[in-house]
Symmetry: C2
Amino acid sequence: MALDEAVLRGHSEAQILSVINAGLALGGARSTDVLVGPGDDTAWLRVRSGAALVTTDAMVLGRDWRDDWSAPDHVGRKCVAQNAADIEAMGGTTTALVVTLVADPATPLAWVRELAVGLGREAARAGAVIVGGDLSSAGPGVCVISATALGELPDGARPVLRCGARPGDVLAVSGPLGRAAAGLLLLQEDRAADGPELVGYQQSPHPAYGDGRRALEAGASAMLDVSDGLLLDAGRIAQASGVRIDVHTAALAPDIAALGAVGDRGTDCVLRGGEEHVLLATFAPGDEPTGWRVIGAVADGTGVAVDGRDTQGGGWEHFTVQQE
Amino acid sequence: MALDEAVLRGHSEAQILSVINAGLALGGARSTDVLVGPGDDTAWLRVRSGAALVTTDAMVLGRDWRDDWSAPDHVGRKCVAQNAADIEAMGGTTTALVVTLVADPATPLAWVRELAVGLGREAARAGAVIVGGDLSSAGPGVCVISATALGELPDGARPVLRCGARPGDVLAVSGPLGRAAAGLLLLQEDRAADGPELVGYQQSPHPAYGDGRRALEAGASAMLDVSDGLLLDAGRIAQASGVRIDVHTAALAPDIAALGAVGDRGTDCVLRGGEEHVLLATFAPGDEPTGWRVIGAVADGTGVAVDGRDTQGGGWEHFTVQQE
């Protein structure tokens, strides 16, 4: 099949699936836990620990990415990364994903192939395989990708929930903050060249897989991934745990300094930027794993404060933000 | 919150989720296998047999349903039913689902609540629970629901695949065929009153959960659910198993007779109608469980025949059929 000019319209599902499977295969992921892979009514997956972590996340063209800003392999990588980050945030390891693609029949087949390449590559990075999916047509301009990730915990372990933070714990983060939000600003201002690394992180975050498991093993008392902004996500831990969390901006100085390309908006990107997918967790003081940074403290009370001052949080909301 | 006038726009995700969770709860499903339910980064689900069946299916407004033909609870039920039917088709029992909803902010909140009621009710029928989901906004007129179902086999069992049919087996079906397709014709012709049961089956099929497990226990050699039409789906067994399947129309006379409302198109509905979600399986002669009907035979060769005459199959294709 000549891919360069082809679109989905006019191709059978078998033809399209063969293109997708070829793309996925480039990721090179293999797993002995896949007992039945794609092609039957369902996949069949060994679950060694006897319990599965399950999460799902959708991506929408025009909401979660723009085709003039993100190549299809970025979109595929991001789709896997944001699901796998949720598995990490429980202390788990991603084992498998299923993906549905709902797309305008005018979508280029080459775009779909590169999407599959991105899905397959990021799955391989996470140590997981794509074990199935579904394909459906939609109206003009529509492209929705929905993925479900499955994962496992170490034998005998329980997941790190949001509700376990205790007064006296420290708040720690597994990586830099604000990059995805700053990258988005640069794209919006047509200044991608001013911060290609930030833009790259917006196009597809690359979580450090294994951070979640290390946090679990270090005794993290609460954890999630920063998907909707530090303050909003910290607020989720505070609310679930019935504690107050104080974020210390002095500890965020390196994050802010790295966002010079967006000027004085760096602080806002660090405090409120979503799609970061680093992990945010609480630990007994000194228990945070190597590579994690303490950026705040847990106390009696409610809500989130910045340097002792109460905040309303703020972060990504799908339906309260005016988007058109 | 006054639901009657409200739409998604302007509501926080927490508000919308509380509406959805209230709807789901009406289904009344409970499970002791849900170790961590909705509300954290992932769910955590006990997998007693040590292996999970996994499948995913998307539904698209304007493709898979029309709002003037289907109430939101029909849509929710159908979404669960078509995923759970895939689990049944392996011989399994559905244990849990996750669901993503991608919707125009102008979608009424009451519609979303009733969708959740349908999801919860059909999940309960299947013996499963909804353990998580994701919510995202989309452009005008867009509504996409994507579900992933997890299931399990009886301890020590292996799934019934499509590839095990052997020459000499019989082809059998677990229920009536053609109802969903006939119902669709009646809706398209604005004659719903001429066949309310057929229309009801199109709006939301109600698989007989447990049929798949009984087929597995009876030694089914190959199985799938009729999602894209009898001939096309029989062709999938034939291809995967390297056999020829002959469908006997005499055995389909009761199915056709029940579709009198669509006149002489009944045969086509029975042979080619999709969305039926009854099970199609092959067995050694006489091994088919009570309630299953023999409708054909497996022989050496390739392809699907009807009363000994070769056929090209034909069934639902998303991208080769002209839809606008």
